[in-house]
């Protein structure tokens, strides 16, 4: 009966698909390609009116096979994709976008640009939200490519400028590139998302044409709009922008303060700490201590010499001046139950000493002040250091012994 026939047909299709998947997962691309031709054949005889899910499957599987198959060429790939574009209306934009990605990854930037422009002009009835998003992405990537050609022309122009002659046509082209890029890039960065690449390019364009206000506004929007995800890069870009334009320390610090609040382990925290340490205000110096302590809480910073030396320097300063020992005490209170095991165990002392002497020196200084001269870490490292007759370790030992009362005040 026809029902049974349909069932069998469906079943054999599924089996075929399983074979394809199996072959692909074992990197047997040739085998997978053979099965795929059977699968396509089976579809030709499929008169079912169901939604054409298989067209997407064929596109995905075919692309994957062609990407890995040893005998495939770019020409073959392009013709396959062109066929796929006509096969499924719903996925047309997606296929175009992926095609452009493939071309870009293979260095065919002009072809990719053409492809994107072509896709941009595509119209088919009412657009779904997904298609709308895909269209925006296509435009954005085209804008990005426009930006790259703008930047190329800019470089040419700058070179020519150095040589002392002007080229009007290049300049005009550059401006038109700017306009095309700016329009599209501006469009996408309004929509909530992660647009690091596009924002950077757009800001670069604006900065070149001197529109600093607009650039600043774009960066502020990207960093502070609550509809956007909490992207640390947004704050980093803003900070870098402010720094480039010589903004005041205060605004730099406030930008980094926010970054510290969302990502205490960001690598810029070292800059932040140095900036704060230099400050004359007590509050800021205290914040600096807080920042460096917080950064060293993270596993990724465990062996960061720079961070440890920042902490060691500040702690040393405080101990020598004997003012603000309460700052250290305050920070230490929430850490004294786990930092010794996390940072200052005997095992780590041994390893740090073997692997990185300067790290062990900085850490030993901090350990000596926080845990006293009898702490495992300090004891081991200073002993080894003295044994190896390294001068700074002897000085370190003296320093810690002299300031042992500070330890008592911190721990007490």
């Amino acid at each position: 009966s026809s029902h049974e026939h349909k069932l069998n047909f469906k079943k054999s299709k599924e089996v075929c698909l399983n074979y394809i998947q199996d072959a692909m997962l074992q990197k047997q691309w040739k085998r997978a390609a053979e099965f795929l031709t059977f699968y396509i054949e089976s579809l030709e005889k499929d008169f079912s009116t169901a939604y054409m899910g298989p067209s997407e499957m064929i596109w995905r599987i075919g692309t994957e096979i062609l990407c890995h198959h040893s005998h495939s060429s770019m020409k073959q790939f392009n013709s396959f994709i062109e066929q796929m574009k006509t096969l499924g209306v719903k996925r047309y934009l997606k296929v175009c976008l992926e095609h452009a990605f493939h071309l870009l990854c293979n260095g065919l930037i002009d072809e990719a640009y053409q492809n994107l422009s072509l896709a941009e002009s595509w119209r088919f009835g009412e657009q779904t939200t997904i298609q709308d998003k895909e269209m925006k992405l296509i435009q954005a990537y085209r804008g990005l490519l426009d930006y790259y050609s703008w930047s190329k022309q800019k470089n040419i122009l700058l070179e020519h400028g150095q040589n002392g002659f002007e080229d009007l046509s290049v300049e005009q082209e550059m401006h038109s590139c700017f306009r095309k890029a700016a329009v599209n890039l501006k469009e996408i960065i309004k929509i909530p998302g992660v647009w690091d690449l596009f924002v950077k390019c757009y800001v670069d364009l604006l900065e070149f044409y001197g529109d600093h206000n607009e650039a600043c506004q774009v960066l502020n929007e990207y960093a502070y709009n609550s509809k956007f995800p909490a992207n640390p890069n947004a704050h980093v870009y803003l900070y870098q922008f402010l720094k480039r334009h010589g903004e005041s320390k205060k605004s730099l610090i406030s930008a980094l303060k926010i970054l510290h609040d969302i990502v205490p382990s960001h690598e810029l925290m070292i800059d932040f700490n140095t900036m704060l340490q230099k400050s004359k205000k007590r509050k800021k110096r205290q914040l600096g201590l807080e920042v460096i302590f917080a950064a060293l809480d993270y596993a990724g910073w465990k062996e960061n010499v720079k961070a440890w030396s920042c902490l060691a320097r500040q702690v040393k300063q405080i101990v020598i001046s004997e003012k603000h020992l309460d700052w250290i005490k305050q920070e230490w209170n929430s850490r004294k139950d786990w930092w010794p095991a996390f940072h200052f165990s005997r095992y780590l002392a041994k390893r740090n000493w073997q692997e990185n002497e300067s790290l062990s020196y900085e850490k030993a200084l901090v350990a000596g002040i926080l845990l006293g001269k009898d702490g495992k870490y300090f004891k081991y490292v200073s002993h080894q250091g003295c044994k190896a007759q390294v001068k700074r370790f002897r000085i370190l030992k003296k320093f810690v012994n002299k300031h042992n009362p500070a330890y008592l005040r911190i721990s007490g």
Partner: protein
């Protein structure tokens, strides 16, 4: 570790997931996702782009044709796990039931039927006792006076038998008699009210079915690899469960070679429950191993030096099953525990338990699953907590106030409707702030510093949700390898992802830029345990089936060890099955391949070898041998007792008599003749022509002893009557009887025992018929009438289904074979077990003496079939 300078573009929107229907069957293929400019510094040259997916990965090729057993099979009488066929309708009925609605149809009546048949005492005990006198199961007509309070059940039984035979027949109708009977006694016959019982059975079935569909108790896996302390050393340790109930924890030293080898005997600990999860992490140079069973969690410390014994540190008990146990990679002796009541604890060996959260509700939207998970993050005081709806991070110092959402099943991560978190894992060994989250559809890599937006997402296309994951971090400029494993389908997938540094710099502040996370190379399927079946030596069909079942048991854990041997690296992947067997496979990587821009590693895809290496083949053989020796024998109790005849009789006794009997000769002659003619023997004619000599009655001298009477009464359910009988005796009579009995006992000591009560099981059919015929008033002090006497059925009752063995069992035939009297009883008992089933013509033994014992081939046959169920005394 610095944050990537530029992230891949992506949309971000909040809210519930919009995409419906789950991903398509090939959703993971053929997509680059997004592209990013490769080197931001190199402006002058042509810009190059890198894709989010589809980059080049390392090539890891399987070194063998299939998985190889790593350890001998787990020595235990292994009980096959539940399969859908056990609890689902199949056949016509299923199709009928499914015609209307989709989904599985639970075979609820079959389970109820099993219960009635297997536990008749619990199902019908008291009413059965009360009514059994009123039910007659014989074939003969009821006597007039008995008809008042007795009904004949035989027809009903036949009807039921026919119903069984017609199972699956579309034209089956309930017989009116059955309908009438069930209508009549549905309300009162059952010990437990039928409605209540049905509710309970149904509830249990639903639970079992849910467990079959998705069992999350083994999330995380019960296998852990403790790598060698020094890089490059060849000796590591494997921690795994074993034993009959998987309640033994083993620590086995493993030497990494071509095929890994166990060294010495493992350290062993017996625990209080089935081990669900074994988690391990290294902190401060020592390995800490956490072990989770349903109500207990324990932690062991394994010192780094080889040969040092693991020491148990602490055990906690939970009142609700624990669903997660993870070990801190930062601080020694810290773990996190979650229970199904929604509580998350930070467990420190020194400071005890600290409750971080208690919330029976799920975090982001309502989901019924009580499963909870928790893991560590880059900050040693911050833990991630997960349920099926997402992940949150909480600060242990102020869990109420300080928390943030790390992952949400929703539009934020581009999830599908119905998508649920299956397994989160902290990827700290690859990158301190990255986490892996798997759902039934996709895998995500998340960065704590950019919550909610996955830095990597890929549809994994696995047939079941991945419950196990293992990370093998790659060094700088290398990809990190993630293995994903499923339980029931035993799938194993190798993924690679990388975080490439443009300039690898140790110090983050100097501006070395790190690129975003990329998926590298196509995913790769590894061998499953069941796949090695075809490489095993050919087996007998029933052994093959058993092996197939054993190898097809769901996976229970996953671990991998990286072995570096100069430029040649290999990855050893260990897999644990729920039966407790451990298998391994090796993947090799040649490091000397220069990475091409487009994936070029497929140039010569080295196909995995088609046949196992000799070393592997040897392991297969050894494993099979150990399996058949250790636990290949099916459990005895499930089958009719098969005893070797050698234990029953001496050789002399078994020797055929010098001159075969005439009957023997005749039969042989007839058999030969029929064989020559190619005919068939329908009836043993000689039996008719020369009737078997009536078996001589047992020498029952006088009354049986009181114990036998009592036991016989108890056996037949008349114990109450027996008691009345005894108490109603007058004293003198009793004394007289007693004295007489004693005298008799002295005379016949050792001659008779409980044989009568045992033989009654042989003939309970006839016994029942006798029972129903007997007037309840007959209280004769003599030998109870129920005691069957072989060969001499009570008068008036025609021999009900004469048992074929009776002729064999007659004392005469036994005596003529020279079998001593005391052994005859044993033989009778022995055969009685077999006589439980109504004899089929095929099994009907002739009176030929050589067939006294069941041929061994028959026991083989029956051992392969389903275990025989106990027959109920009353068959409804």
């Amino acid at each position: 570790m610095e944050f990537p300078a530029v992230l891949f573009p992506s949309y971000f929107s909040a809210g519930p997931p919009r995409e419906e229907g789950g991903p398509g069957p090939a959703a993971g293929w053929g997509e680059y996702g997004q592209v990013l400019e490769a080197g931001p510094r190199r402006r002058q040259a042509e810009t190059t782009f890198v894709p989010r997916r589809g980059g080049t990965g390392e090539s890891w090729e399987p070194a063998d044709a299939a998985v190889v057993p790593f350890l001998p099979p787990n020595a235990s009488c292994w009980i096959p796990s539940l399969v859908p066929q056990d609890i689902l309708y199949h056949g016509v009925l299923r199709r009928k039931l499914q015609a209307g609605k989709s989904g599985a149809a639970l075979d609820f009546t079959k389970q109820l039927g099993h219960f009635f048949v297997d536990h008749p005492e619990d199902a019908f005990g008291s009413l059965g006792q009360l009514l059994h006198k009123n039910f007659y199961l014989g074939n003969s007509k009821l006597r007039r006076q008995a008809r008042d309070n007795t009904i004949r059940m035989t027809a009903l039984m036949e009807e039921i038998g026919r119903l069984e035979a017609r199972r699956g027949c579309p034209r089956q109708h309930l017989a009116p008699r059955l309908r009438w009977f069930s209508h009549l006694c549905r309300d009162w016959l059952f010990e437990v009210p039928l409605g209540l019982l049905a509710d309970c059975v149904h509830e249990e079935l639903l639970l079992q079915w849910a467990g079959l569909l998705f069992d999350d108790s083994s999330t995380g896996g019960a296998l852990a690899w403790l790598p060698p302390k020094d890089v490059g050393a060849r000796m590591g340790r494997l921690a795994y469960p074993g034993g009959q109930a998987m309640n033994h924890l083993y620590f086995q030293d493993v030497v990494l070679e071509e095929l890994p080898r166990a060294r010495g005997s493992p350290a062993q600990f017996e625990l209080n429950g089935r081990i669900r999860q074994v988690a391990a992490a290294r902190a401060d140079g020592e390995d800490f191993v956490g072990v989770r069973s349903d109500y207990h969690c324990g932690v062991w410390r394994v010192p780094g030096r080889t040969g040092a014994a693991p020491t148990p540190l602490q055990v906690i008990r939970t009142s609700v099953p624990a669903s997660c146990l993870t070990v801190s990679p930062h601080l020694p002796g810290e773990l996190s525990v979650c229970t199904q009541s929604g509580t998350v604890y930070l467990w420190s060996v020194e400071r005890g338990l600290q409750r971080l959260r208690h919330d029976p509700q799920t975090m982001f939207f309502r989901d019924h699953s009580p499963w909870r998970w928790s893991d560590f993050t880059a900050h040693p005081r911050v833990l991630s907590c997960a349920d099926r709806t997402g992940l949150q991070c909480l600060d242990a110092r102020a869990p109420e106030k300080c928390h943030f959402d790390l992952f949400k099943v929703g539009e934020e991560a581009g999830c599908q409707q119905g998508e649920r978190v299956v397994l989160p894992m902290y990827l700290g060994r690859a990158h301190p702030s990255q986490h892996l989250v798997t759902t039934q559809f996709s895998v995500y890599v998340l960065d704590e510093r950019l919550p909610l937006v996955p830095v990597l997402k890929w549809a994994h296309m696995m047939k079941a949700p991945p419950l196990f994951a293992h990370l093998t971090p790659g060094g700088p400029e290398r990809s990190h390898k993630v293995l994903l494993g499923t339980s029931h389908t035993q799938e194993l997938l190798l993924l690679q992802y990388q975080v490439l540094n443009d300039q690898f710099l140790a110090c983050p502040s100097t501006g070395g830029s790190q690129s975003a996370c990329q998926l590298a190379g196509p995913p790769q399927k590894l061998h499953s345990i069941a796949g090695c079946l075809q490489h095993l030596p050919v087996q007998l069909p029933h052994c093959h089936r058993m092996l197939q079942q054993r190898l097809g048991t769901p996976a229970a854990g996953l671990a991998a060890a990286l072995q570096e041997d100069g430029p040649r690296e290999s990855l050893l992947v260990f897999q644990l099955s729920e039966a407790g067997d451990i298998f391994c496979q090796r993947l090799t990587h040649e490091a000397a391949q220069p990475p091409a821009l487009t994936s070029g590693d497929e140039a010569i895809p080295q196909p995995s070898p088609a046949v196992p290496s000799p070393a592997a083949a040897l392991r297969y053989r050894r494993w099979l041998k150990a399996l058949s020796e250790g636990c290949g024998e099916p459990p005895r109790h499930a089958y009719p007792a098969t005893l070797s005849q050698k234990r029953l009789f001496t050789r002399k006794e078994l020797a055929t008599p010098v001159g075969p009997s005439t009957l023997h000769g005749q039969l042989r002659q007839q058999l030969q003749q029929t064989m020559r003619e190619g005919g068939c023997i329908q009836r043993w004619d000689p039996l008719a022509s020369q009737p078997c000599t009536p078996p001589q009655p047992l020498e029952l001298a006088g009354d049986p002893d009181p114990l036998s009477v009592r036991l016989t009464a108890a056996w037949s359910g008349d114990w109450g009557q027996w008691w009345e009988e005894r108490t109603s005796f007058n004293m003198a009579q009793r004394q007289r009887a007693l004295r007489e009995r004693r005298r008799r006992q002295k005379r016949a000591r050792g001659r008779r025992s409980l044989s009568a009560s045992f033989t009654s099981s042989l003939t309970y059919q006839s016994e029942l018929s006798e029972l129903s015929d007997m007037a309840p008033t007959s209280l004769s002090p003599g030998p109870p009438a129920v005691l069957p006497r072989e060969g001499s059925p009570p008068a008036g009752v025609p021999p009900a289904s004469p048992l074929p063995d009776e002729a064999l069992l007659s004392s005469q035939s036994l005596r003529c074979r020279g079998i001593p009297k005391e052994r005859r009883k044993t033989l009778r008992d022995y055969l009685a077990v077999w006589a439980d089933d109504p004899p089929e013509p095929l099994e009907l033994p002739s009176s030929q003496a050589s067939q006294l014992c069941i041929p061994s081939s028959q026991s083989q046959l029956s051992s392969a079939s389903q275990p025989r169920r106990k027959r109920p005394r009353m068959g409804f």
